[in-house]
């Protein structure tokens, strides 16, 4: 016990002594929490649209302002040919080309049906499908309008119609910050916990000081505890700082219990520190530790559902994500912060993190050999 306290004192001194690292650890998360949620806004608006009007009729002249005034679209080009509009799409100046063919009004009135054409830049799948959906609903509104005006004999009321009443639960104002801030906080804690602990141990390997500890009578588990506890404390500090920023800047107050949050945090840090330790046991140099850490953090950040939905991944990937502690902790954060979920609701995620954490730590301890460097 006494040895552990001495070790802890040494570790804390070493961490606190290095101003650069400390600055990065404290300032980087705060700045990122201030900036990044602003970037992660997915509400699709400002879809730029290039319009080709071959009809020049009353209808087409009424339809175009309807599209541009909807708030979703901005008109970037009004071209003479479809080819020119497509060039605008190619050059990334427009997301969508919309063509009203010649004789649109005549066909609509004489034959009761007319086509319009849209070509969407579908590289970004969501923007494409949402843009298409918005334009479609504007078209059907317009369609209903002209029906009432042109053919009062058979008004829209004649056909049966299903209305949709929709409500948004848990976040009625669709405030994206509520959703993204907790997740970004998790990614920041992840980078800190798993990676910093790995680097720290590998640094001792590289500079040879680990051998001095290895020949000392310090027990293996005490050495490991001495390495892990400081980062556990740092992780909790950064997390608290992040919650504070979330409250002061974004007005986010967790709807659930803080005890639930912090208990989950400790379990999460336990798992991630285990991963850091495991990386350390497999790395001989900091370059290797860096490659491995970057590999894992990048995968965690992109696949744990921070920015993209896990549900839309293929089944094998979803199974893989089940083993990621960050994915579970992000779910817990969102559930507790937004929905006020309690221990009962998050039990599964908590259990999953505990199992993965125990496995990682056991593996790391078994793999850590005190005798060889």
């Amino acid at each position: 016990m006494k040895t552990l306290i001495f070790l802890l004192e040494k570790e804390f001194r070493q961490i606190l002594r290095n101003r650069q690292t400390l600055g990065v650890l404290i300032i980087a998360p705060v700045i990122q929490l201030l900036l990044l949620p602003l970037a992660a806004n997915y509400t699709v608006k400002n879809i730029s649209i290039a319009v080709v009007d071959h009809d020049h009729s009353t209808f087409s002249r009424r339809l175009i302002p309807k599209i541009t005034s909807s708030g979703y679209f901005t008109l970037t080009g009004y071209t003479n040919s479809y080819r020119q509009a497509l060039t605008l799409v190619e050059e990334d100046k427009a997301d969508l080309a919309f063509q009203i063919p010649a004789n649109f009004e005549r066909d609509l009135i004489r034959e009761n049906s007319a086509k319009v054409y849209m070509a969407i830049d579908a590289i970004d799948g969501t923007k494409a499908s949402l843009g298409g959906a918005y334009l479609n609903s504007i078209l059907s509104d317009f369609n209903a309008d002209i029906r009432v005006n042109q053919a009062p004999a058979s008004t829209a009321a004649d056909a049966p119609h299903i209305d949709i009443i929709s409500s948004d639960w848990y976040n009625p104002f669709l405030n994206y910050n509520l959703y993204i801030v907790p997740a970004i906080l998790v990614t920041l804690v992840t980078a800190l916990a798993a990676m910093q602990s790995a680097f720290n141990i590998v640094q001792e390997k590289e500079s040879g000081t680990i051998e001095q500890i290895n020949v000392s009578p310090i027990k293996k588990y005490i050495f490991i505890l001495g390495k892990l506890i400081p980062f556990m404390v740092l992780g909790i500090l950064v997390f608290s700082l992040g919650l504070l920023v979330g409250w002061l800047v974004y007005g986010i107050v967790p709807a659930g219990n803080l005890l639930v949050l912090y208990s989950s945090l400790v379990v999460y840090l336990f798992a991630m520190l285990g991963l850091g330790l495991l990386i350390a046991t497999y790395s001989a140099t900091q370059m290797q530790a860096m490659s491995l850490s970057f590999f894992f953090i990048n995968i965690f950040n992109l696949m744990s559902g921070v920015f993209t939905s896990v549900d839309s991944m293929p089944a094998w990937a979803q199974t893989l994500v089940e083993t990621f502690p960050p994915s579970h902790f992000i779910k817990i954060m969102r559930m507790v912060v937004l929905k006020g979920s309690g221990f009962g609701d998050i039990a599964y995620h908590l259990a999953a993190m505990t199992v993965v954490g125990t496995l990682l730590n056991t593996w790391a301890v078994l793999n850590y050999k005190k005798t060889s460097s």
Partner: protein, 381 residues
């Protein structure tokens, strides 16, 4: 006075540089484990992300509560079940169960058909269906609600045509470049930019700071080698590794993800080398300001990773961001590289479409390298 047999100074310099580069290569290629990681891990990421990631929302779990159970609701439910956007879970009957399912996060949306749905529709010509979305993720919530609205509107259109409504406008939609709206076309260029940039930056900064940490840098600095040569020699192996990585990524994405380079491979390679050089210069700059490898890595991982991820533009459209962030995004090299890869690889466009982005990358590269060279000299004294 130098004797006439002595080779001119230029030649000595060249020789020095070659010897130096040789040394760096030996050092890098000696360490097989590290090398394996430097090649293997970035490639594994691209393949993994290419297969797994998608911005799309599909297969969302929803619950349908049908109090009416008539022909109309059965037809609409059939349409919902058939769509790839939704996975319909077993129906829950009361509000408490619904609330519990939302809290547990097992469902994203609930659709409620009130009793006497078909009857109302037939008699009064109107019926309402209720959609409740879990908006804790506003993106997913609104997207899912939009898809559901579309399905019900389609059904409305069917009702219209049965009723013989006049004046139908029929939209004809064409999805360019990515007809299936799949993930890889958007994510591969983005992840390529992200991974190449961060790996290059970290690799370079760590390699240089390591020499500082071990004290061997001082030996180099007091040697008669020119600073420029030290830098060039340090960067060459990393440049080579990254170029090989780039080619493997291109090869893998064409074999596994069915994403071939539509435009000129030569042009893409040229731009990629430019981008890699820019990233190496960032690493160089970072190494000058870091005294320990740990500091350099934390700077790169904590400071650069998330901003690069978000401001490259492959996760969130940059046009939607606040103006200040749009300016900030302009100084992120991967943002420009992402556009280049999209245009050349996916759209098959030529240099005319990317000259601006290429010029920006070139400018960044020159400026960053210039600053690094300047600062490196100061350290000499």
């Amino acid at each position: 006075m130098p004797s006439p047999e002595m080779p001119p100074e230029k030649e000595i310099n060249m020789k020095q540089l070659i010897v130096f580069i040789k040394k760096e290569f030996l050092q890098v290629f000696r360490d097989k484990q590290t090398l394996l990681m430097l090649f293997g891990l970035p490639i594994a990421q691209i393949v993994l992300f290419g297969f797994a990631l998608s911005n799309e929302v599909k297969g969302s779990k929803i619950v349908i509560t049908d109090y009416s159970k008539d022909a109309v609701t059965t037809r609409i439910i059939g349409k919902i079940t058939a769509s790839q956007y939704f996975t319909v879970e077993q129906s829950l009957q009361n509000a408490d169960q619904l609330q519990a399912a939302f809290r547990k996060g097992t469902i994203k949306m609930a659709v409620v058909f009130p009793a006497n749905f078909a009857e109302d529709l037939a008699r009064t010509g109107k019926a309402s269906v209720e959609i409740i979305a879990d908006a804790s993720d506003p993106n997913e919530g609104t997207t899912v609600a939009n898809y559901m609205t579309q399905i019900i509107n389609d059904y409305n259109l069917e009702l219209d045509s049965i009723a013989g409504q006049p004046l139908q406008i029929v939209p004809d939609i064409l999805n360019l470049y990515n007809p299936q709206l799949s993930g890889p076309p958007n994510f591969v260029p983005g992840v390529m930019a992200l991974v190449l940039m961060l790996v290059c930056t970290m690799m370079t900064s760590v390699a240089i700071v390591k020499e500082k940490e071990l004290g061997t840098m001082e030996i180099l600095l007091v040697s008669p080698f020119k600073t420029l040569y030290i830098i060039i020699a340090k960067l060459t192996p990393n440049l080579l590794i990254s170029i090989v990585n780039f080619f493997i990524i291109i090869l893998l994405s064409s074999v596994f993800l069915d994403l071939q380079v539509k435009g000129s491979l030569l042009l893409l390679t040229f731009c990629s080398i430019l981008f890699i050089l820019t990233s190496l210069s960032i690493g160089l700059l970072l190494s000058i300001y870091s005294s320990t490898q740990q500091g350099a890595m934390m700077g790169a991982l904590m400071g650069m990773m998330l901003p690069t991820m978000l401001l490259t533009g492959f996760l969130f459209p940059i046009d939607n961001m606040p103006l200040a962030l749009q300016w900030l995004a302009n100084i992120v090299p991967s943002r420009w590289y992402f556009i280049i890869v999209k245009n050349v690889m996916l759209k098959g466009l030529g240099f005319a479409s990317i000259w601006k982005e290429t010029l920006i990358l070139l400018g960044m590269c020159v400026i960053l390298f210039g600053i690094s060279l300047q600062k490196f000299k100061i350290r000499l004294q």
